[in-house]
Symmetry: C2
DNA sequence: CATATAGGGTACTTTTAGGTAACTATGGAA
DNA sequence: TTCCATAGTTACCTAAAAGTACCCTATATG
């Protein structure tokens, strides 16, 4: 049984890692299909996306809904437990925006906009 | 010049990684010497500790104060900019505690208490 | 019959993170 | 004189994370 030296480690085990917070920030804006997530995260590979989604699902943070059709359709959304992270995610997003503004000369150049529709 | 697909990535670049949030959570409780941090984080090696502290310092999140004495004394504390993360860190800690309580049968067994004094 | 589709799985390789151990400085104590 | 303490640095090596390339399914379309 794994032990923590400080409780925040338990939170990091769930939302730590390179992609999980980003995935959750997208899901906060609504249910998303796998292909939408891939489009929103051009840097992620299929393998990593699936892997991170599986782990989030295992931690009961997101819900995976499989539609029985061909070609497949799978939708991901936050669970109630996932929604308990909303404030943290919102603050992180906001802090990130401020950090970009504070740190870079041309903040608007730092974010590659991806159409949400 | 590195670009982000979503601003939260900028936040993750600063506080992402295995140790940074943990370090910051300790520093929220006050200025700490290197040896204190090592004691509070039994799992971290000297090398990783120094490395993470350097990166946090470079991002202007923590302050490194070197006392000119032998044996050396170095103290780390949050900068004003570091304090702007306080709410996020507090929420993460709190979420971690809740997560432990929710997830494990004997939550109190999950945290190896380390004396703060 | 060939092909595209969406959402995967998997074996293999590369890259990165992290660990280990040895080394540094300096002044005071044993 | 030798050792200890603190806070490092560095070279080297291993382990973990991530990338690449390929495979699968089952239906619809041309």
């Amino acid at each position: 049984m794994k032990k923590y030296n400080i409780p925040v480690e338990a939170a990091l085990e769930v939302i730590g890692g390179k992609w999980k917070v980003v995935i959750l920030c997208h899901l906060i804006k609504g249910k998303k299909r796998t292909s939408e997530l891939k489009r929103l995260m051009p840097g992620i590979t299929q393998k990593m996306l699936t892997q991170q989604l599986r782990e989030l699902e295992e931690d009961n943070v997101i819900l995976r809904e499989v539609y029985n059709q061909v070609p497949p359709k799978v939708e991901y959304s936050l669970t109630d437990y996932g929604w308990s992270l909303k404030q943290i995610l919102d603050l992180l997003c906001h802090w990130g925006e401020q950090h970009i503004e504070k740190t870079f000369d041309n903040p608007e150049d730092m974010v590659v906009q991806i159409n949400e529709e």
